[in-house]
């Protein structure tokens, strides 16, 4: 199906720049970023170059559909080798942020977990194991200091994401 560019929104690129994809306009579509991208081997591949092109063209709806960005392995090979200094990996994160902003169902649940415990894994959950190795039962992270965890949460409450989607974090 043809893509009608009269319906495109060329402000999209500014939104992505705003969200951290600062160098996105420099891309000249050489394909280095795709070539060695692990996630580009997927059946529905992540082709960061294509996403960048879509953003240049202003294809909002299509970009929102592209959940391939969430496959990024974060290996940064693309960023290392991009000849134009586009920082495709940063663009990848920027796209995720944009999607999360446009459609909150994109927001990863791990955000809530970190808010609650300070960690993606509950480090306080394996006291016996740690003890058997001769370690402190609970490691000296926020998990061990409830007053610090509170401060940590206070800090995060200043962020837009917690303020807007408090329900996901069990606040507000």
């Amino acid at each position: 199906m043809a893509i009608d560019l009269t319906k495109a929104d060329r402000t999209l690129v500014n939104e992505i720049i705003e969200l951290g994809g600062e160098d996105i306009l420099k891309c000249f579509q050489c394909g280095t970023c795709v070539a060695d991208c692990p996630a580009a081997t997927a059946e529905m591949p992540l082709r960061i170059k294509k996403l960048i092109h879509m953003i240049h063209l202003g294809l909002r709806d299509e970009l929102l559909e592209e959940d391939s960005v969430w496959m990024c392995v974060t290996c940064t090979a693309c960023e290392e080798r991009c000849p134009r200094g586009v920082k495709p990996f940063e663009v990848c994160l920027a796209i995720r942020r944009w999607q999360a902003k446009e459609d909150p169902t994109y927001i990863p649940p791990a955000l809530g977990e970190i808010f609650k415990t300070g960690h993606t894994q509950n480090v306080a959950n394996v006291p016996e194991l740690r003890k058997s190795l001769g370690l402190e039962e609970v490691p000296p992270t926020v998990a061990k200091f409830p007053e610090l965890l509170k401060k940590f949460q206070e800090m995060l409450k200043c962020s837009k994401i917690v303020q807007e989607y408090g329900f996901m974090f069990g606040v507000g």
């Binding site: 059946e43 959940d67 962020s159």
Partner: protein
């Protein structure tokens, strides 16, 4: 003997899933003249798939939170996990470069009574081992030499790239981990996918599982076909977990026999230093007993 002092940043996976790595680090580093202090109250770095993927400022604030603790103690941070290294170091770099972001983030930190100044650097453990300690000292510190043992060296992507911010090793053909292993007396064979990513981080494995497994299989196959490696050594908890889990999955799915033991570098170092495997190399999916036995005996 110069003494180095670092704040040991744990992250999430090490203390929760592979605390034996934590113990290996805690045991080995002081023997090399590296004193470790705790970064008390540290949190998730945060991992790229979390806050960095949804709210840049929240992510930077968490980075700053972690670093500010080290700044209070007056040490640089040392990390093992590649992702943690990358997240913290990139975050720090961004805050140092961008005054406006730094200001905003410090406003958030203020609520928690903290402040980011950028005084503390973030160092990967391989950087510390290679550049502060040096391979020579490591060779001198061990009791067991890995004669005749063939070890695959896998340097984590996040330790290497983007090299303009993170880099201390050659970003395309890292050699430091290799030399550190050679310092233990082992042989480190080359193979054609030596520099391929493990494929284990991020959402790839979750969202495109079949291809992700296939991707790692290629690397493992290259190891199997092109070398007769006894074990794989990494220095990233994510890589460690991934190689370990994926081999089991491949074997279970009948894709062949994948059973190369996987170690963190400090675990191997700890064994060579004569620490008790039950403390420093206790947890694994692919059985390591046999190779540990061989190491201890050699």
């Amino acid at each position: 003997m110069p003494v180095f002092k670092y704040g040991f940043f744990l992250g999430c996976n090490i203390p929760a899933i592979r605390p034996d790595v934590e113990q290996a680090i805690r045991k080995t580093m002081p023997k090399l003249g590296v004193e470790l202090v705790d970064v008390k109250g540290s949190a998730c770095c945060p991992a790229f798939g979390t806050y960095p993927s949804a709210d840049e400022y929240a992510a930077l604030a968490i980075n700053a939170w972690n670093i500010s603790i080290a700044e209070e103690i007056g040490v640089d941070i040392m990390v093992e996990c590649g992702s943690c290294y990358s997240s913290l170091k990139l975050g720090r770099d961004c805050l140092l470069r961008d005054e406006e972001k730094r200001k905003k983030v410090n406003e958030m930190l203020k609520v928690a009574g903290k402040k980011f100044e950028g005084k503390s650097d973030v160092r990967h453990i391989i950087d510390v081992l290679y550049n502060d300690v040096g391979t020579e000292k490591i060779s001198r510190s061990i009791n067991i030499k890995l004669d005749g043992i063939k070890v695959i060296a896998h340097s984590p992507c996040h330790m290497l790239r983007p090299s303009n911010v993170l880099g201390f090793d050659n970003p395309e053909r890292p050699y430091m981990l290799r030399e550190l292993i050679e310092a233990l007396g082992a042989e480190v064979p080359r193979y054609s996918r030596e520099f391929q990513c493990c494929g284990g981080a991020g959402g790839f494995k979750r969202r495109a599982h079949i291809e992700a497994v296939e991707y790692t299989k290629k690397k493992l196959d290259a190891i199997k076909e092109e070398t007769d490696a006894d074990l794989i050594v990494v220095s990233c908890i994510t890589c460690l977990l991934h190689f370990d889990e994926i081999q089991k999955e491949l074997t279970e799915k009948g894709k062949g026999n994948y059973s190369i033991p996987v170690f963190d570098y400090n675990q191997l170092l700890a064994l060579c230093m004569g620490f008790d495997p039950k403390e420093v190399a206790a947890i694994s999916i692919i059985p390591r007993d046999e190779i540990i036995e061989r190491i201890i005996k050699s």
